[in-house]
């Protein structure tokens, strides 16, 4: 897990919650945290004990404060509230060198595990697996969720990425680092919008390039489908093996329906809403 705090989100605390859930449902799995000194220095001593209990390794990787200054993300808390902050998401390209494991699953700190599905990936025949399809709770997948732009390549989601250390995956992560360093060029080449650096885009471009600039099955999906809740939704209750969410309707920001997600892993993009339930998550799973 990669966790670099910013002025709005305490990603390290979120990682503690996500790791507690991961260890509960996948007790055999070792979890490690990649973070930075600044994020770690703000962790209260009570939380340090939790970190030591949950994470096998704490790996420090300094973030590029200068380049991240321009990487401003809008954090939404449903349709009613939004704030902007720097997004420190540029260290993932180094995961190949940072991971202490031969086989690694890199997951976002807002990806909450509630099943044993992740165990299906270990020992895969393929050395790299990533999901291309996204499923939202209210089935409102748009073109932007599937392609970099209407005339561009398929979008792969770097929320959960499995890889084994091989020459091919080394090549892939080196290429991702190159794309990140020349992001403006690739933005022009692949004609996608927005100034925010997105790992999803870098991974998608690298996959396209390594597949011979073709859309093929060089890189396959993970052995489980990817469920997500966008930041217009609100996590309102956490129970054991169960998350209840108010699911927003894109065209009607004031309108919500209730959904109960049980026994299923889910990416909850509304980080504020996870923060409101972190204590409960730790009470249940730690």
């Amino acid at each position: 897990m990669f966790a670099h705090n910013n002025t709005l989100c305490n990603y390290v605390e979120m990682a503690i919650g996500a790791a507690a859930m991961a260890k509960h449902f996948l007790p055999e799995t070792s979890v490690s945290l990649v973070t930075d000194e600044s994020s770690m220095s703000k962790i209260p001593s009570a939380k340090m004990a939790q970190i030591e209990e949950l994470f096998e390794h704490i790996i420090l990787k300094e973030i590029d404060w200068n380049s991240d200054k321009e990487n401003i993300k809008v954090y939404k808390d449903t349709g009613y509230h939004q704030e902007k902050a720097e997004w420190h998401n540029t260290t993932r390209k180094s995961v190949y060198d940072l991971t202490p494991y031969d086989e690694t699953v890199m997951i976002d700190t807002d990806y909450l595990i509630q099943s044993k599905c992740m165990d299906l990936v270990w020992g895969s025949e393929e050395d790299f697996r990533i999901n291309k399809d996204i499923n939202y709770l209210n089935n409102t997948k748009t073109h932007d969720d599937q392609f970099l732009n209407p005339f561009s390549i398929p979008l792969y989601w770097a929320t959960v990425v499995y890889f084994r250390k091989t020459e091919r995956t080394r090549l892939l992560f080196d290429l991702i680092a190159h794309i990140q360093e020349n992001y403006q060029y690739y933005k022009y080449m692949y004609k996608f919008k927005g100034d925010l650096y997105r790992n999803d885009f870098s991974f998608s471009i690298a996959i396209h390039m390594l597949a011979g600039f073709l859309e093929n099955k060089e890189f396959n999906s993970l052995p489980f489908q990817y469920l997500a809740s966008p930041d217009r939704d609100d996590l309102i209750q956490v129970k054991e093996n169960e998350l209840k969410l108010l699911v927003g309707i894109p065209s009607e920001s004031w309108s919500f329906t209730l959904i109960n997600v049980n026994g299923t892993d889910i990416h909850i993009m509304n980080k504020f809403s996870i923060g409101r339930h972190l204590d409960k998550i730790l009470e249940l799973y730690l």
């Binding site: 599905c117 165990d119 299906l120 895969s124 052995p223 169960e242 209730l258 959904i259 109960n260 299923t264």
Partner: protein, 120 residues
């Protein structure tokens, strides 16, 4: 508001919630019907179960099967693989069936999502 309209909107809200909850349930079922063996990923279908059974009846102990990515995967212990997919299939289906029945009988939004409004 016109009472007819109010009742229609209430019913519409109920149907949307029911539909979304059912889709979430199907999603969980699909993930549950996935099995890994020897590096391959398999969708546990009735066809796979039946095919494995026919191979075992044919006294095969190992076989190469195509996984969901059309990779040829050697199954070194076919009877054990069959046992695993057979039990996982019914475990998942029984859970799906029980949760589906609960949904089918739910007449209110709170019952569909199994929530007590007082708790929130």
């Amino acid at each position: 508001m016109d009472e007819r309209l109010e009742r229609a909107l209430e019913f519409s809200n109920y149907r949307v919630t029911l539909h979304q909850q059912l889709e979430t349930l199907k999603f969980k079922m699909r993930n549950g019907l996935t099995h890994s063996c020897n590096g391959g990923t398999f969708h546990i279908s009735q066809e796979l179960i039946g095919f494995c059974n026919s191979l075992i009846l044919d006294e095969q102990t190992e076989s190469v099967l195509l996984d969901i990515n059309e990779l040829p995967i050697l199954i070194p212990d076919l009877p054990e693989f069959y046992e695993e997919i057979y039990s996982k299939y019914f475990e998942t289906l029984n859970e799906y069936s029980a949760e589906y029945e609960k949904l089918r009988k739910a007449r209110k939004v709170a019952a569909i999502v199994d929530i007590d409004p007082e708790e929130i």
